[in-house]
Every structure is written in structure tokens, then in C-alpha cells.
């Protein structure tokens, strides 16, 4: 029985219209800022790259929390753990490749 109520609340907490709208607005803002930064460079080239990468990561986080409901679901959250591990490996692949190949380009 306890499980059942749990399930209902679980279904309801699948985000509200409000959270989707907030997520959407934030995504739009985080898309416009890098565009402006690239069109009218405020920082040096390296600074701009860092800034727009940070925006991209923030937008990723927003999608995860507001759209993909990463905080929900029963514990332990294996999906989150797999995702974190996957991201570590993605980072390794990209950074490692750049580092190793730096001598060869």
C-alpha cells in the first residue's frame, strides 16, 4: 500500500508547467548570452571560449533538472550514477585526445 501512494506522488512530481517554463526561459537566455559574446567580443578569445563553454554546461544542467527530472525516481539513482561516470569518460576522451595529439598537429 505504502508503495502505491509513493507511486502516485512520483507521477505527480514529474515537473509542473511552471518548472518547464522556467527551464525554457533559462535555456533561451543561456543561448542568447553566448551569441552576444561571440558577436561583440567583450573578453579575449580564450575568455570568450571559457564563458560560452560555461553557458553550454549550465544549459545542460538546466535540461537535466527542469526537463529530464534527474532528481526524481527511486533511490538509489543508478541513472544519475551512470551519467556521472559517462561524463567523466567523455571528458577523458576529449581532454585526453587533445592532450595526446597536441604534439602531432
Amino acid at each position: 500500500m505504502a508503495n502505491h501512494t509513493n507511486h502516485n506522488s512520483h507521477a505527480e512530481s514529474h515537473g509542473s508547467l511552471k518548472s518547464y517554463v522556467i527551464g525554457f526561459i533559462l535555456s533561451i537566455v543561456l543561448t542568447i548570452i553566448p551569441l552576444v559574446l561571440v558577436m561583440n567580443p567583450l573578453f579575449s578569445k580564450a575568455g570568450t571560449i571559457i564563458a560560452i563553454m560555461i553557458m553550454a554546461v549550465l544549459q545542460f544542467v538546466i535540461q537535466l533538472f527542469f526537463f529530464m527530472h534527474i532528481r526524481e525516481g527511486e533511490k538509489p539513482r543508478w541513472n544519475v550514477q551512470t551519467l556521472v561516470l559517462g561524463l567523466v569518460i567523455v571528458l577523458t576522451i576529449v581532454a585526453g585526445s587533445i592532450w595526446i595529439m597536441a604534439f602531432n598537429v
Partner: protein
């Protein structure tokens, strides 16, 4: 003894009630793991792009050929479609099948126009003399962006299949799970595009 048997009985009834839903939950977890593998697939393509992004071999550069207006339009289209696929989930949670299908149709149309823009962009690039075999940079570009495009196209076919099933069967644990995984997939593709937009286009025109 009696109590143990009783517990068992209870567990059995519980099983029948929840067996199907548990099974669908299992598939959502599997789909998450699949998305992680897809993340790594794109990660490898990004790594290749990052290493080859200045290997123009005397050919045209991205800065010369990229046309940002179209790309910006695609970006907002895909962003909006990610939002509308979320609204589809909201409709599903309220149990409104028609509204759900309606939002899926909107999402699919947005996805379709995204693909249309991408095709016209690629045609334009080929016209300008940038093809798969022009240079390492363009090979990496077309493969990375094209793989994302193929993912979106597959998602469109899948969406059509799910809309047909929703019309036929309404909301069941199975169709609910399918809509859930589809929307996860769609949000994921939006996330990939954000990085594509940033790394390939924004950094490309800098």
C-alpha cells in the same frame, strides 16, 4: 509460519498489480544507460572534431562558410521542441491523450523543420565547395553534425510510431513508458545540439 505464508500471499498480489509497471521502470533505466553510451559516442566524435578542427588542408574554413542566422534559427527550433516534448509529458501526467498527441505533433513538426534547415545548410556548404572529402576539418564537421541529424531523424520516425500506438491503445503503462523514453531522447538530442552549437558554430566563427 502462518505469517510467513501470509506475507508471501501479500507479495504475490502486489506482484501482479505492479509487475507490469516495475517492468516498464526497468526499461526506463536501460534507456538511461543507452543514453550514456550515446553520450560517449558523441564524445568520441567531439574529440575527433577537436583534434582536427584546424586541419583545413588549404580548403575553406568554417569561418568563411558558416551562416549563423540559419544555425541560430535551428537552435531555437530545437530548444522549443525540447520544451514542447516536455509539455507532452505534462499532458500525459494529466491523462489527456489528445493534448499529448497534439504536443507530440508540434514537437515532430519542429524537429522536421530542424532537419529541413540542416539539409539546406549542407546543400549550401557542398555548393560552396566544402564536402566530406575537402579536408579533415570538413570530414569531422559533416560527421559530427550529420550524426546528430540522423539521431533527430530516427527520433521523428519513433515519434510517429508512438503517436500511432497512443491513438490505438490510449495511455497504458507501456505507452506511458514509451513517451517517457522518447522525451528523454529528445531532451538529450537538444543537449548534444547545445554543445554542437557552442563548439562547432560559435567557436567556428570566432
Amino acid at each position: 509460519m502462518q505469517q510467513v505464508a501470509n506475507n508471501h500471499e501479500h507479495g504475490h498480489a502486489h506482484d501482479h498489480e505492479h509487475g507490469h509497471e516495475d517492468h516498464e521502470q526497468l526499461k526506463v533505466l536501460g534507456f538511461w544507460i543507452f543514453l550514456v553510451t550515446d553520450c560517449i559516442l558523441f564524445g568520441s566524435l567531439f574529440a575527433t572534431y577537436a583534434v582536427l578542427m584546424h586541419s583545413y588542408a588549404g580548403g575553406p574554413t568554417g569561418k568563411e562558410l558558416f551562416e549563423l542566422p540559419g544555425v541560430i534559427a535551428s537552435t531555437f527550433i530545437l530548444l522549443t521542441s525540447s520544451f514542447t516534448s516536455g509539455l507532452a509529458i505534462l499532458a500525459m501526467n494529466k491523462g489527456k491523450v489528445k493534448e499529448l498527441i497534439g504536443w507530440l505533433v508540434v514537437t515532430a513538426l519542429l524537429g522536421l523543420s530542424f532537419i529541413g534547415l540542416e539539409i539546406s545548410e549542407f546543400t549550401h556548404l557542398v555548393h560552396e565547395g566544402a564536402t566530406m572529402s575537402t579536408s579533415a576539418f570538413w570530414s569531422a564537421f559533416f560527421t559530427l553534425v550529420g550524426t546528430h541529424g540522423v539521431h533527430v531523424s530516427v527520433g521523428l520516425f519513433w515519434m510517429v510510431a508512438i503517436m500511432m500506438q497512443l491513438r490505438r491503445r490510449g495511455l497504458t503503462p507501456v505507452t506511458r513508458r514509451k513517451v517517457t523514453t522518447l522525451s528523454l531522447y529528445w531532451h538529450f538530442l537538444d543537449v548534444v545540439w547545445i554543445f554542437l552549437f557552442t563548439v562547432v558554430y560559435l567557436m567556428g566563427v570566432m
